[in-house]
């Protein structure tokens, strides 16, 4: 894996209980790509970490349930600090679809499996972006987002709404 030099070393913030399987997996994945992860126990620590490292490429990895706390304020704050977010949806998560849409609109990557996190991490390291990504999420209309609701519902293990 060759990392392109895009300025300061990239930083990956792994959000979650360090002893959890998820966090350990994310730490392993990050190190596998030659980046030393920064563990943050929760979204509050992640915001503090992101705000404190100006000018450094930052990716925030975590579960949607944690990253969407406090009405999802992490996502616009991360965008304002030029940081990217990658959120893993919890299996069976039945609440917060509005939050998923809000995360997408703020430019976050929302994935359903760990393998997709790997792809998002590789994409970000290579280009400073994550996928899938629209060219201009800021212009997305609610109708556009609703077009993916059936996909998300299937991802979350729910019946698609009529």
């Amino acid at each position: 894996m060759v990392r392109r030099n895009l300025g300061l070393d990239p930083q990956v913030i792994v959000v979650g209980d360090p002893d959890s399987e998820f966090a350990r997996e994310m730490v392993r994945l990050t190190r596998e790509h030659g980046v030393e992860p920064v563990p943050c126990h929760d979204v509050y620590a992640a915001v503090a970490e992101t705000a404190g490292v100006r000018g450094r490429r930052t990716l925030i990895l975590g579960k949607m349930r944690e990253l969407s706390r406090e009405n999802g304020r992490l996502f616009p704050l991360a965008a304002a600090n030029a940081a990217c977010c990658c959120c893993l949806l919890d299996a069976g998560m039945t609440a917060g679809q509005g939050m998923v849409f809000a995360a997408l609109k703020a430019g976050a990557a929302v994935v359903g499996e760990t393998q997709e996190v790997r792809a998002a991490l590789q994409d970000w390291l290579a280009s400073g972006k994550h996928r899938p990504r629209r060219a201009d999420l800021g212009d997305l209309q609610e109708d556009d987002l609703r077009a993916t609701e059936a996909e998300l519902s299937a991802l979350l293990g729910q019946q698609a709404h009529a």
């Binding site: 509050y44 915001v47 503090a48 705000a51 404190g52 706390r69 406090e70 304020r73 992490l74 704050l77």
Partner: protein, 355 residues
């Protein structure tokens, strides 16, 4: 900087523009601002951030050298007190708290003026804690720290005077009304249970006249101690009149979160069982109390009459609950005293209720 819904805690929140202050509605925005800016004081509204208050304060503490002041509603005071307490080997998550609602001027009194800086010892401790907080200037101010501690003590004392009945040490009428108002505001949306007990000592005036005011005062103190002992730690016991007391029973703040809809239905239909149990226990203990001040044979001669009203069944405001409980109390008096009535149709003597 103030973080949270300041309209809930400051009576004059609309005047915040008159103070040198930035307001952030969300704790995450506050943490972000704290890292990027320099603040002398950060006030955090506890309500709304309480579910993750510890982690949020920990991150805020690491982000800023500012003094952190918690803006706590009355029922949050026990939590606030724990968060500002000195624990050996641990860093305090907050430096002070202010009981709300309050005025912005009170906040600035507790927060202290902009001349306050951290002492070199505090700065050193933050470094050892690995906070990464930029080092501030060394504080000159042993005098400023002493002024701060003294002023804070003074404010605490004034708060205590304003909220406490000095004869019994219980909360006073002003406190219990405001507390009940805040609790009912919270209980509505969350399905919380609140029950109000109002009671007085039967024939108290006669005892006062017969045995003297000193004896009467001691009876009131003993009643306060007994009631405090019978209640749960978080229930609010108050003296609201000469020999009249009020107790607010409410959900334990540390209870596990349950289904809100289930709780709401439960609150609307069930008897307030915990409150009935406590009231029965108090009746018995008061009757068994050995009140030697009243002379030989005094045991068993003092009784109480009372009324129990529950939210939301018997009322949805403080005024309604007190009115209903008072009416039940009056009915208990008319029907022979030495009984506590539960508001209902027909009114039930709690002595007849099982459990």
């Amino acid at each position: 900087m103030l973080i949270g819904d300041i309209g809930r805690v400051f009576l004059d929140a609309g005047s915040v523009d008159r103070y040198p202050c930035r307001v952030q509605a969300n704790i995450l925005d506050g943490i972000d601002a704290a890292v990027k800016g320099r603040f002398d004081v950060v006030g955090v509204v506890m309500d709304g951030t309480s579910s993750q208050l510890g982690p949020a304060l920990r991150a805020l503490r690491k982000s800023t050298a500012a003094r952190i002041v918690l803006l706590a509603q009355m029922h949050e005071e026990p939590i606030a007190r724990r968060l500002v307490a000195d624990v050996p080997g641990e860093q305090k998550l907050a430096d002070a708290y202010l009981i709300c609602p309050a005025l912005l001027a009170s906040f600035y009194g507790v927060a202290q003026p902009s001349t306050e800086k951290e002492s070199p010892r505090d700065v050193g401790e933050r470094s050892r804690a690995g906070s990464g907080v930029p080092q501030g200037e060394a504080a000159p101010a042993a005098p400023a720290e002493a002024l701060s501690a003294g002023l804070e003590q003074r404010i605490r004392h004034l708060e205590w005077l304003a909220m406490t009945d000095d004869l019994t040490g219980l909360k006073n009428r002003r406190y219990v009304w405001e507390f009940a108002r805040q609790i009912l505001e919270q209980a509505g949306p969350t399905g919380g249970r609140v029950t109000l007990l109002v009671f007085d000592i039967d024939n108290f005036k006669q005892y006062n006249d017969l045995y003297g005011h000193a004896a009467g005062d001691e009876v009131l103190r003993q009643a306060a101690i007994l009631m405090r002992r019978c209640c749960r730690p978080h229930d609010v016991v108050s003296r609201v009149g000469g020999d009249e007391f009020a107790v607010v029973f409410w959900d334990d703040p540390h209870r596990l979160a349950g289904d809100v809809e289930r709780d709401r239905r439960s609150a609307a239909t069930e008897h307030p069982r915990e409150a009935i149990f406590v009231a029965k226990r108090f009746q018995k203990e008061f009757g068994d109390a050995d009140l030697q001040l009243l002379g030989p044979g005094a045991q068993g001669i003092l009784t109480i009459s009372g009324g129990l009203a529950s939210f939301p069944r018997d009322g949805s405001t403080v005024e309604q609950l007190f009115r209903q409980a008072d009416l039940a109390l009056l009915d208990a008096k008319r029907r022979g005293k030495n009984r506590i009535y539960l508001v209902g149709e027909p009114q039930s003597d709690i002595a007849e209720i099982e459990g």
